[in-house]
Amino acid sequence: MTMTPLVYALQGASTLPSNDGYVAAAYIVFFALVLIYVVIMAVRLGRVERRLQDLQERREDESGEHEKRERELV
């Protein structure tokens, strides 16, 4: 009887202890690591966006004051 390598592999695997938990743990650890990194990046991006908004507001305030002063002078 001829057997494919896959059948051999499956037969061998059936006698081995189940290590599903370890495999799941390894993949969870990896995706958690990527997720932590993405969260850190998102927090940093939020900070940059806030600074950018602050910069824009301050610039608008200054240009507003400048126009006000010009109007007062006229």
Partner: protein, 226 residues
Amino acid sequence: MRSPSLRALSISTVLAFCVSLSLVFFYAPIEADQGFLQKIFYLHVPLAIVALCGFVIGGLFAIAHLRTGDQRWDLRSYVAIHMSLIFGVGVLLTGSIWARASWGHWWVWDEPTLVSFLIVFLLYATYSPLRFAIEDPERQGRYASVFAITAGAFVPLNFIAVRLSASYVHPRVLGATSNLPSSMAFTFLVSLAAMALLFATLCSYELAAKRTRILLKVRSRTLGFR
């Protein structure tokens, strides 16, 4: 931050990971010797290969920085090394989980492959403290590049030395791929491609974030804001 090329890279990474995970869990056969535990190798080995290549790439960028004096190469070198360190943490964690299941120990000190990777990881862990201990940006970039080149040259030498080592219990994947069934080899290559894409995507995001922050700082100074 939201350029079309970055979006395309992100989408291709997600797709590559979906394909890779599908192949790992639904296509690649269960290995006869290790059983289901061998599935960790489709994650652990590509992580290790990409991390080590990232360190070498960081060294190559550093050479470009020293040759041209262009600060962008220094930034690329820094980001490649930074990302490889994060991938290195993944290698150590997934490797330890596999070792615990297979050998019954989280770590084996007399195994050259493990210890040599830890040495490389710890060597690069000193890169950031060294870099940020120097205040002058030009000197900081120059010193960091010298470090990246020296350490980058150490990585392949270390790899070769470990391969030549006589005693090891850590399984060999590279060089033994001819023994792998084609379905396993194909799954491994797809996993490697997905991991390389993830590395490229995260590096691109990190670079874009760093450039934006530098630009913001310059604009703030130009406008006279703190």
